[in-house]
């Protein structure tokens, strides 16, 4: 047997083992992907199924009489008068008219709680929009109380014995009677996207948190992007290689690993206590989050700048471009896709951040929708945290819906990152 033949035999005998190893590795990879995918699927299905009910709202159709004398209003009443008028009475009267024979004080209280306390404001807004309604009888779809909502959405089991049920028999009979006569309807829950937070689940909306997150991210982006890109350019292109710069580099990397709550404590101590800046404001939130985002963007930008082929720099320098021109005309445009991706990932991280904002008071219960970066507000992840903590059943679906909104924002931000990357990527 020649050497060559012998070698062929040896190689051949080992082949099977090699292929087996490859197969095992491949299937291990597939299994890991499957596990990761399954977890994602479970998470998404859970969130989505729980969130869906939050997007519909139960309404009660009632005919209310806007008696001018009872309301102490007339067609010429000023806005202040309308604001001060008691719109609770017409609704209560309408309810009493619908279910006559309710006389006991407790029963009356239960009857009135069929509609949300938001119903009177609903009525007031209608009159504000059209004062001609005063003195007329109008049919309005009022927001139902969260208990009614829960019964209609089958979140409360009607077959349970009364003692175990949150909605008692009397109230349930009213609901069923209205349901049978078609006076209960469901509609898309616009309020969820147009209202701020509320103690009442049926009135609680996410707009305040969305705007709070928006303003916070705006501040974060405005502060961290220019600072981080400038730092990255300086460190990569201009900084001398010495111990001091090494020290700074190490510390930037360390900063990326600092627990985020520490940044919150820093914000509390420095910005609120020392500089007396407003509490709960997106301005402080943004500053704190930009401290946290800075290292992420710096590190991403540096590696993007590092990945720019040196030939591009040499080409520009060889033509007599100054260092500054080389960087701004060639290196930065070439590194932009990477820098933008890093920035958006950093911003997405900031969007999902909760802990540091707890420390600077953005966890407060805030009903008003913030109008600027100085107004007290909360952010999406904290809204999730607040609602998840609330005892009312109606907040359960709101929590999932808020998570869903947060996820939609995160996914769209990542999609933008990919899109920008594709757009600015140039091949050479």
């Amino acid at each position: 047997m020649s050497d060559a033949m012998k070698n062929t035999a040896i190689v051949k005998s080992g082949l099977k083992k090699r292929y087996l190893k490859e197969k095992i590795f491949k299937s291990a990879g597939i299994v890991s992907i499957a596990i990761a995918f399954m977890f994602l699927l479970v998470l998404l299905t859970d969130v989505i199924t729980k969130a869906i009910p939050a997007f519909t709202q139960t309404q009660l159709t009632l005919t209310v009489t806007l008696d001018a004398e009872d309301l102490e209003l007339n067609q010429e009443s000023s806005i202040e008068d309308i604001m001060a008028a008691d719109f609770r009475q017409p609704i209560r009267e309408a309810l009493r008219a619908r279910f006559d024979g309710v006389t006991k004080r407790n029963d009356k209280k239960q009857l009135y709680s069929l509609v949300s306390i938001g119903a009177e404001y609903q009525l007031r807004d209608l009159v504000l929009a059209d004062p001609a309604l005063i003195g007329q009888s109008i049919t309005v779809d009022f927001i139902a109380d969260d208990d009614v909502d829960a019964v209609i959405k089958n979140a409360i089991d009607r077959s349970l014995p009364e003692s175990d049920r949150r909605v008692k028999d009397l109230k349930l009979s009213w609901i069923e009677s209205m349901e049978a006569s078609g006076e209960i309807s469901t509609a898309f829950n616009w309020l969820f996207f147009s209202a701020g937070d509320s103690r009442e689940p049926e009135l609680a909306g996410i707009k305040g948190a969305i705007l709070g997150s928006f303003y916070t991210l705006l501040v974060t982006l405005a502060l961290s992007f220019p600072v981080a890109v400038a730092a990255a350019i300086y460190l990569e292109e201009f900084a001398p290689k010495n111990r001091f710069i090494d020290f700074i580099e190490i510390n930037i990397n360390n900063l990326a690993a600092v627990p985020s709550i520490v940044f919150g404590l820093l914000g509390l101590a420095v910005f609120i206590n020392f500089f007396s800046m407003p509490r709960s404001a997106p301005l402080i939130g943004g500053i704190v989050l930009s401290l946290m985002t800075l290292p992420t963007i710096i590190i991403a930008s540096r590696s993007a700048i590092k990945a720019v082929p040196p030939s591009l720099r040499e080409a520009a320098l060889g033509l007599g471009a100054s260092k500054m021109q080389t960087v701004f005309h060639h290196v930065l445009p070439a590194a932009l896709p990477g820098i933008l991706t890093g920035t958006i990932i950093g911003m997405a991280q900031a969007l999902g951040e909760t802990a540091p904002l707890l420390m600077i008071g953005m966890v407060a219960f805030i009903v008003d929708i913030p109008q600027s970066i100085g107004d007290p507000s909360t952010v999406l992840p904290i809204q999730v945290f607040l609602w998840a903590d609330a005892p009312e059943r109606g907040f359960l679906e709101k929590t999932s819906a808020a998570i869903l909104v947060l996820l939609v924002f995160l996914i769209s931000m990542n999609a933008i990152a990919i899109k920008l990357r594709k757009k600015f990527e140039k091949k050479w």
């Binding site: 030939s311 591009l312 320098l317 060889g318 033509l319 060639h330």
Partner: protein
């Protein structure tokens, strides 16, 4: 055996010449081909009308010396080829001529390099101005990821060489014509420069360099990444350019050196071994190492 021979010769030479240095080997593998003693550059390194003149140039990368005491003049409007085996320092030397080595932190240069009698490493010499006068074409074509027009127009734009768009258009066209590329790209001046073939890209890079109207063009193996046809075009172009420019070209191809240059300098392990007329170097090398290299015994 070899070492003892070498010692003998060193001893011999030490009697007469103090400057004698034995070539230090960087690796043990090279020892076989280096049992030749080097004393100084063979041939006439000076020129009557020198554009560049370098004296006692030493280049260090951190603690490694890459160039040892190089003295070399480059004549006005001549093409000089720098040849030598890989790692011999010819590219390093070339990059000293427009201070491209400044971008490498660990690189240190001493000695004198004069351009038209002025020290280019003087404190008051601006590297930006120097590079506008001494253009460079690199080994791998490196057009900017921009349009063909913008590639050529970039240099004139940053230096403010033209007053208006029409002048710039003329300058770009002129540079492309001189680089022999205009006819091939005139219909797609605003198409991407990176969409051209390798040879076209390299001619685009040459056009880009010419557009700044430098006095000297340095070329670092400009054809090594190209096929023979593209190479031939580049060589033809160099022959045309030498009417107006001083050209220093580093090349691995001895045929190329023979075809395009008037003078040739042979580098070996950081030292300039021999310099002379291209004809003489290739037909009648005076140094043993040059002879060994051009006859293909190593390289």
């Amino acid at each position: 055996m070899v070492i003892s021979m070498m010692n003998e010769r060193v001893a011999e030479l030490n009697l007469g010449i103090d400057m004698t240095q034995e070539i230090k080997q960087n690796g043990p593998d090279d020892s076989g081909i280096l049992d030749v003693t080097y004393s100084e550059t063979v041939g006439e390194y000076q020129c009557k009308d020198a554009k560049f003149s370098t004296r006692d140039v030493n280049v260090y990368y951190a603690n490694n010396q890459a160039i040892f005491d190089v003295n070399l003049d480059v004549g006005r409007n001549e093409v000089i080829a720098l040849i030598g085996p890989s790692g011999c320092g010819k590219s390093t030397f070339l990059r000293c001529l427009n201070r491209m080595n400044d971008t490498i932190d660990i690189c240190r240069i001493d000695g004198q390099i004069h351009l038209d009698g002025q020290d280019i490493y003087a404190k008051k010499q601006d590297p930006v101005l120097l590079r506008a006068r001494v253009g460079m074409v690199f080994q791998k074509p490196n057009p900017f990821p921009k349009s063909i027009y913008d590639n050529v127009a970039y240099g004139p734009r940053i230096h403010g060489l033209t007053k208006n768009k029409a002048e710039l258009d003329d300058l770009v066209e002129d540079a492309l014509i001189k680089a022999g590329l205009f006819d091939e790209v005139k219909d797609r001046l605003h198409g991407p420069g990176t969409g051209l073939s390798g040879g076209q890209q390299q001619r685009l890079c040459i056009a880009r360099t010419i557009a700044v109207q430098p006095e000297v063009i340095l070329m670092d193996e400009p054809a090594s990444a190209l096929d023979p046809i593209a190479t031939a075009k580049i060589e033809e172009l160099i022959n045309e350019l030498k009417e107006n420019y001083t050209i220093v070209i580093v090349t691995h191809s001895m045929q190329q050196a023979a075809r395009v240059s008037q003078r040739t300098a042979y580098f070996h392990m950081g030292r300039l071994i021999e310099v002379g007329d291209t004809n003489q170097i290739f037909t009648n090398p005076r140094h043993e190492l040059t002879e060994k290299y051009i006859t293909g015994r190593f390289g």
